[in-house]
Each structure stands twice: as C-alpha cells, then as structure tokens.
C-alpha cells in the first residue's frame, strides 16, 4: 500500500483554534477601535500603531534569532498583538522613538527575559506603557484634542478622568461622546462603543470568556455606585458608575488587557476574583490615588497575584461537589 501510516495517542481530532488564530481574532477585534481612533485623531494613530507593531515584531524576531538562537515564533502573531495593545495605550501624538523604546521594554524586558510567549508574569504591553508613563510623563499625558468636526472643547485637551481629578463635577461630563470616542485620551481607549464591539466579537469567537470583563467592569460600577451613594446620591448614582466604566482604560483594560491569557488565572472562579481585584484597585487609584487612571497598575498588580490565585483556586472537581439533588 502506498499509504503512509500515522499513529498517535487519542484524541485524533483537534478544534480549529490555534494560537495563531486566537491572536488573529484579537487583532481583528481591535480594528473597530483603531478605526474610530483614526477618525478622531487622524493618521497619526495609524503611524503610532504601525511603529509599535513593527518594532515589537522585529524585536521579538531579533531576540529569538540572535539571543535565543532558537525557533522564530513571530508568525503566531503574539508580538503583533502586544505591539497593537501597546499602541492603544499611547497618545497619538507621541514621538516614534518613544514607541520603539516602549516596544523594547514590552517585548525585550517583559516578555523575552522570562522565556517568551507563555512565560511572562506581567502583561508585556502594560509593562511597556507603565515604563513610558514613568520615563516620559509629559509625552505620555499630553493628549491632542480630537480633530473630528463638532468636537466640543469642554474638557480642553484633558481626559475625562483628569478633568474629574481636577475637580470637574461628573454631571458636566458628556457621557455620549465618551461612548462614541470623541474625547482626548490614549488612542485605543477612547472609543467605548468600538471596544465593546470588539469584546463581543471575542466572546463570539470563544477567544475570551465573560468572566474577567464582567468582573472588572461590574466591580467598578458597583464601587462607583457606593461612592456616589456615600456622596449623597441623586443623579450621580447612575452617572458615576457609567462614567467610570466608560472613562479611561476601563473597557480597553477589561476586554483586551486583563483577559491576556498568560497573565490571567486559569479557572473561572479565579478569573472572577482577579477581575474584582482589578476593578477595586482601579477605583481606589482613580478616586484617591495620585494618578487620574489606575487600570494599568491594577492589572499589573493582579498579574502578580495570578500565580497565587492559580495555586489556591481550583476548579470544581467532578464527583466531589455535594449532591445537587
């Protein structure tokens, strides 16, 4: 027989998902937000994104080729995802060389020093962002005003969160423009609606589960609700939760950053604990911290807790659960 026989232990079939297909889905899910951002800020957005993606991919390739001297795995697109996520956390006006430095930190320091894909304890894109935030605070926090027509300059170049921090009452913030994205901010975080569309796509493609985003956003909303309640209630009871869920990096963080596989817990229970932690820490930083936004720090902090969660939060074992009936 001319057949070549293959043998392997069962199972002999495999789902259609691969690391590459998952990463591709994440990239696709980020496109709506990228499009809205380009509409709001112009072509600078694409420039920053392209620089970030290309530099991340090139840096990963060079490290694997010349430092690890091993197989090159840039084709699994994980470096591209890191690059785009990093770009999403930067203002569109940032100089290109800062983007490259951010990529170097993200891929070189946060990812490859730990052994590459799957081994990094912290989200590489966020490490890159936080490094830049501390190293280049001015460039990282000066956001250009949207170039889109009809932009009401109510907040004059400050992000909604910075405005609140500066004492603008939440009632004065235009929630609708926060939803559509015509506000100042990092290029990927402004378009709440587009981010939600991306999130729904990821859920539909079974790339992520609902646990982390819902836990993060739910915790933030509940937290804000109680803060508003303590503040005397009124219209703020719904305005403040809505504001915090839409503002800053909340949606970007909850849907794209916190759900990063490598740095999030393995069980659904663990994911919920992790999400609640992120939500709570973010709100604490936003309300009482020195920075207007705390999403990055919250996620990095909970990344550090992830191994602990994995160790102690185990799935429900079959047959050990108490009888339901």
């Amino acid at each position: 027989m001319a057949n070549k026989f293959f043998v392997a232990p069962s199972p002999h079939v495999h789902s259609a998902q691969s690391t590459r297909s998952i990463m591709r889905d994440v990239l696709i899910a980020m496109l709506p937000a990228l499009a809205v951002s380009t509409w709001v800020y112009g072509l600078d957005v694409l420039k920053v994104s392209a620089v970030a993606v290309v530099s991340c991919v090139v840096i990963e390739y060079l490290i694997q080729k010349f430092l690890f001297r091993g197989e090159c795995t840039v084709s699994n697109l994980s470096a591209a995802v890191t690059g785009l996520l990093l770009a999403f956390n930067l203002p569109s006006s940032i100089p290109w060389w800062i983007v490259v430095i951010g990529s170097l930190v993200a891929i070189g320091v946060a990812k490859m020093t730990f052994g590459g894909l799957g081994r990094n304890p912290f989200n590489p894109a966020l490490v890159g962002r936080v490094f830049l935030l501390i190293a280049y605070p001015v460039q990282m926090t000066s956001f250009p005003a949207p170039v889109v027509e009809g932009y009401a300059d109510a907040l004059s170049g400050a992000t909604p969160l910075a405005a609140i921090k500066a004492g603008v009452p939440v009632e004065d913030v235009d929630l609708l423009s926060m939803f559509s994205g015509t506000i100042p901010g990092s290029l990927g975080e402004i378009a709440a609606a587009a981010l939600i569309v991306g999130g729904i796509y990821l859920l539909w493609r079974r790339v992520i589960t609902w646990h982390i985003p819902v836990a993060v956003l739910g915790t933030m909303a509940v937290f804000a609700f109680f803060v508003a309640l303590a503040d005397g209630g009124g219209a703020r009871l719904y305005q403040l939760p809505a504001f915090h869920v839409l503002a800053g990096g909340a949606l970007l963080g909850a849907i794209f950053m916190a759900t990063d596989y490598v740095t999030s817990p393995m069980t659904h229970k663990g994911m919920i604990i992790y999400g609640i932690g992120i939500g709570a820490v973010t709100m604490i930083i936003r309300l009482w911290g020195a920075y207007p936004e705390g999403m990055s720090f919250a996620i990095l902090l909970m990344n550090a807790v992830t191994p602990l969660i994995n160790k102690y939060v185990k799935p429900v074992r079959f047959g050990l659960a108490t009888d339901k009936k």
């Binding site: 057949n3 069962s10 199972p11 789902s15 691969s18 596989y261 047959g319």
Partner: protein
C-alpha cells in the same frame, strides 16, 4: 434539555457519512484470529488446541477469573494455532486462529428472527446466561457485563441507564442498532431491569439522533416497554459513563474507587443490551457486532455486522479501501480510539468502528508553548486542570500529579482537543495516570502486608 455539568467540547460529529447506511452482514472471513483478551481484566484461558474442530458459537476460551469473559468461536472450522499474533497496535497478543469451513452453528442457538419477549428467569440465572455468552461492554470499554450487573452487597441499584449517546464523532453503529434492532434493544432493557432489580430504566440519546429517539419512543408507546427515552443536549463526552449518569440523574459518581453503583446507577451501552437479549433469549453468545467503517474520504462508508476475528483490512476493503496518501486508521472513534499499525488485526468485542482520517487530519499540529489560555480547564469534564496535570506528569512529579487528581482523568481527550498550542496534554496525563495508579496499587499492597 439535560447534559452533564462540567466541561465538554463540541467536535464536528461527522456522522452523516454513515448514519443513513443500514447494517449489512459482512462476508464471512476465511481465517479468523480471536484474541484471548478482548475485555478489561484477565485474558480468557484457551479451551481448544491446534487441530480441534469447532462450531460457530462454541466456547473456545473460558473466563479465567470473575473479571474476565468467555470467548466463543465466531465461525465453524478447524483451529490452526493458539499462539502469539500481532494485534492492531503491533503488539503481541495470544490469539486462537481458526480456518473457516462452512458456517455450522451450535444447535442450541436460536437463529430465527422471531422476537422473544417473555422472560421468566430470575436475576442470578440472567446474569449467569450473560456470563456464559461472554457479553462485555461494547461501547469500547469492554467491561465484562456480568460484573457490572452483579450489584455488590451494600449497594442498591435505582437506575438502569442505557447508553445510546454515541458521542464519538463519526461512529454510527449504536445509532443504527437503535433504529434497526429497537425491539430487541427494548426487550433487552426489560431483561436487564430484572437482572439488577430496578424499575427505572432510561435510554439516553443525544439530540443529534432524532430519528432514533422518535423510533424508540414509538415502539415503547406501541408495545408498552417499561423504559423512557431521555434526549440529551449534544456535547462530548456525554457517552462517558460518569457524564451520562450525571446528565440523566444529576448525580456525580465519586472519584475512584467510586463506581456508578455507588450512586445507584448501572449503565449499559445499546449494543451490549442487544447482545444481552440475544444471550438470554436466543442462547447466542457474543460472536458478532456492528462495526462502522467510515471516514471523510472512504469511498463507501458502511455499518457492517461482522464476526469477531474478521480482519479489519477486509472491512476496509468492503468500504472501498483506504484513501491515497497519509492516513491514520483508528480502531474506534477519533476522540478515544486507538490508532492502528496492523490492519490485518481482527475485529474484537470492543471495536465499534474503524475511522479513517486522511491528509492533514491524519497528522497532529506542531506543539508550541502553553499560552495559559485555560481552554483545557474549561473543557475538562472532570474539573481537573489538564495543563498542570500534564506538566507535572511530563516532569515525572508523581506525588504532585496524584495531588492534582490525575487518577480522576477519564482520558476523554477534551483538553488536547481544545488546546490551541497543540500540546500533547493527554499523552502525558495518561502516562501520569498509569504511573500513579501503579504507585497507589503498590502502596495498597504494601499496606496490606
């Protein structure tokens, strides 16, 4: 609609290739090789020697212990050898080789197609008949049926669950059996109810076989069989014993050494029930079974009623031969079946199908690093953490593997199926499970001393 509580995956079922093909009787082979170990437990002891003449249905090997099963001659003819032969996995196994001469059956076997519904035997007599006929679980696990039916002291059976789930992709032998041998199946269920002394009997059928559900329900309504049909939501591995019990009763079998009987359930596969009917009502031992021969590029997929010992290559020939190029021939379905290297190996009691995967499907993807996506954790129907269990097994950390409950694994393959990094999770978990079970047994033996 009911299903099991934790995990599960949805592989494409690929049953369309053969689920409309009626069961055909396979041509009798000229030579059969009958392995002595076709079941879980001790291999049977050969009762014939070279040169002996045997009749179809004659006992040729006897159960060597309680956990063993009788084996009968699938054809009539002359024994030409009782010796080591190469099995489907290429390993050496004791087999009885019989050269067929005609097809003369033992006179005690009732070969008429007449349905015999009346059964007045008591439980012990039924179980004895099942034991004599060498009936074992035909879903693939090949657990001797008489052992399963012998309810241990202190336990009480409440449910008789008939496994018509057939959750393995591609396979359709149980589906066709339900459609074409419904009456025998339902009489068999009534016999089994007598045998284990229960009044609740449920046939669990996955919802992708609406014709079987409807057919059985109609027969039950027409003839008043004491059994219900429970449609189940399609999800792999629903046909796993523990998963099926959980789906039907909501009860979870405790981890090993927990048994289904500890939650009051006895589970039998539909083909097994038909074999029970034949054994008890027709005195017919288990010498033939329905084998699905299927695959995307198999010319004419079929459901064949083949005698045990028929070379699998003959079945493949009947289905139009293997497709060109790279192939993987699987004894069983693609989720839990075993890949074969020797196609001349015989059909055995546990062989529910021959699945042929070809081209890209025959090969596995390249392994890449674990990205901790947690898909395996979500997919595991036993609530384990496959990535972790596999990792510690790979590193031979047996203590840790035991702590992480490696022995709970049912080897369903959901973890590896869902792994986007193509990590051979189950390969290592299976290894860990075997080793840890050995350690546990050794410890128990040491404790006894």
């Amino acid at each position: 609609m009911k299903t099991f509580p934790i995990g599960g995956v949805h592989p494409s079922d690929n049953k369309k290739w053969s689920n409309t093909k009626a069961i055909e009787v396979m041509d009798l082979p000229d030579v059969v090789n009958v392995p002595l170990g076709q079941h879980i437990g001790a291999p049977a002891t050969a009762k014939v020697a070279k040169g002996d003449k045997v009749l179809t249905g004659q006992l040729i090997a006897e159960a060597s212990s309680f956990m063993s099963a009788n084996i009968h001659s699938p054809v009539s003819g002359t024994v030409t050898a009782v010796d080591m032969q190469v099995n489907g996995q290429g390993l050496r196994q004791m087999m009885i080789t019989i050269k067929r001469e005609g097809d003369e059956w033992l006179p005690s076997i009732d070969r008429t197609p007449q349905l015999v519904r009346e059964c007045t035997l008591d439980s012990a007599a039924i179980i004895a008949k099942i034991k004599d006929a060498g009936v074992v679980g035909m879903g693939g696990a090949t657990f001797p049926t008489h052992v399963k039916l012998s309810v241990p002291p202190g336990c009480k059976a409440e449910y008789l669950i008939i496994n018509g789930v057939e959750c393995e992709p591609y396979l359709t032998s149980d589906h066709r059996t339900m459609l074409e041998r419904g009456d025998e199946l339902l009489v068999g269920v009534e016999i089994l109810k007598r045998a284990v002394g229960v009044d609740k009997a449920v046939i669990g059928v996955e919802n992708n076989k609406p014709d079987a559900i409807e057919h059985l329900r109609r027969l039950i309504a027409e003839k008043g069989y004491g059994v219900t049909v429970e449609p189940l939501k399609v999800q792999y591995p629903q046909g796993g014993e523990k998963q099926l019990i959980a789906a039907v009763t909501g009860r979870q079998v405790p981890p090993p050494p927990g048994l289904p009987i500890h939650v009051g359930a006895v589970v039998c596969n539909v083909s097994t029930v038909v074999a029970v009917y034949e054994a008890v009502q027709k005195n017919k031992p288990l010498i033939e079974r329905v084998v699905t021969v299927t695959g995307k590029h198999v010319q004419s997929p079929r459901n064949l009623l083949a005698r045990m010992g028929t070379p699998i290559s003959k079945l493949l020939e009947k289905a139009g031969g293997l497709p060109e190029g790279d192939v993987k021939v699987i004894n069983g379905g693609p989720m839990m079946g075993r890949a074969m290297v020797n196609l001349d190996s015989p059909v055995t009691k546990g062989c529910s199908g021959i699945t042929v995967l070809d081209g890209d499907e025959a090969r596995r993807g390249v392994e890449s690093p674990c990205i901790k996506c947690a898909k395996c954790v979500a997919a595991c129907p036993m609530g384990l953490e496959p990535y972790l269990v596999s990792k510690v097994s790979r590193r031979k950390m047996w203590d840790r593997a035991e702590q992480e409950r490696v022995t709970d694994c049912i080897e369903c393959g959901c973890c590896q199926y869902s792994c986007p990094a193509n990590i051979p999770l189950l390969d290592y978990i299976r290894q860990g499970k075997q080793t840890v079970m050995g350690i546990i047994r050794a410890r128990a033996a040491a404790a006894k001393k």
